[in-house]
Amino acid sequence: MLTDARLMELVRAERRDEAIALLLPAFRRKVFGLAYSFLRDREAAEDVTQEVFIKVWRALPGFDGRASMSTWIYTIARNASLSALRARRPQSSLSDPEVMEAVEAIDPAPSADVIVDRTAILRLVDQLPTKQRQVIMLFYMEGQSHEEVAAMLAMPVGTVKTLLHRARARLSAAVGNVSATA
């Protein structure tokens, strides 16, 4: 089982590669999701994810265990994502054709209605305020808990719940409107 103590042990034994090999399956999707929630671009998010793990690997000897490993990794991931966001030129959107293709690829054979619904929902999510969008994406990514999303975004759990509630209400209202006009 992956514990901070086990990781510290590996770092002390100068076995950082093994530590990263343990961290990777536990945090890869979370870091990728976090980067994606900032960047909204799969390729950029993947690059950031790789950078985050390389940074973690480099910084592991300096990890003092004052914060938990997950908090530490999420902080690195947030900072790396924000840097990548600042360095980026035009901002891509969840409604980009590339993203649409990725969405369609999730379900191998969705019905036409489902594609329309998901495309519409993606557009609606894209229009949400940044924090609400991030919370929605991270919460529904592999069923994260409120606490996990709060840790990932460095927010109080209450704020996450509020943002999630507002985002859902906004999306429900918007979906209602879309259905009514369709």
């Binding site: 950082r16 590669d17 990263i20 090999a21 990777l24 399956p25 890869r28 999707r29 990728f32 999701g33 994606y36 799969r42 993947e46 994810t49 790789q50 793990f53 390389i54 690997w57 480099r58 969405v103 999730i106 379900d107 619904d117 998901r118 929902i121 993606l122 999510v125 929605i136 994406m137 991270l138 529904y140 990514m141 592999e142 069923g143 859902r168 999306l171 429900s172 979906v175 209602g176």
Partner: protein
């Protein structure tokens, strides 16, 4: 029957639930980690070599400094001995017997010259030894 909220949740889960990196991500990352690891090892070795060179250079400089100090000390020592000898001769001179005085007046200049040569030779020999010894080469 599903409510619109649960429908929405289902769609959101379908949209974001499968969010993951592309295939081969882990292998690419681990390859990069290994490459970084090698670069790190090379860099660490270079750093260690640099540190060792600096330490050796410091040791050589200290050794050279200490040799010069020894040479100075030896010169001053010889000079001190010569002065003491002169002082001893001057102090003890009047009390010496006539025979000794005669011998000393006969050989005095030679003794003085020998002392002078000795005093002059000590730093010269020291300098010669310093210049002809095998030079200390830096790594």
């Amino acid at each position: 029957m599903s409510t619109p909220d649960s429908e929405l949740a289902k769609h959101l889960q379908a949209l974001f639930g499968g969010l993951d990196t592309s295939a081969g991500f882990d292998a690419r990352l681990m390859a990069r980690v290994r490459a970084e690891s090698r670069t790190d090892a090379i860099e660490a070795a270079r750093h260690a070599r640099q540190q060792e060179r600096a330490r050796y250079r410091r040791a050589v400089l200290e050794l050279q400094h200490s040799r010069r100090s020894m040479l100075r000390l030896l010169t001053l020592d010889t000079l001190g001995i010569a002065l003491l000898l002169v002082a001893a001769v001057v102090t003890a001179g009047p009390r010496l017997s006539r025979e000794v005085m005669e011998i000393s007046s006969q050989y005095g200049p030679y003794v003085a010259m020998l002392l002078g040569v000795l005093i002059a030779a000590v730093p010269l020999v020291g300098m010669w030894a310093e210049q002809t010894r095998r030079p200390i080469r830096l790594l």
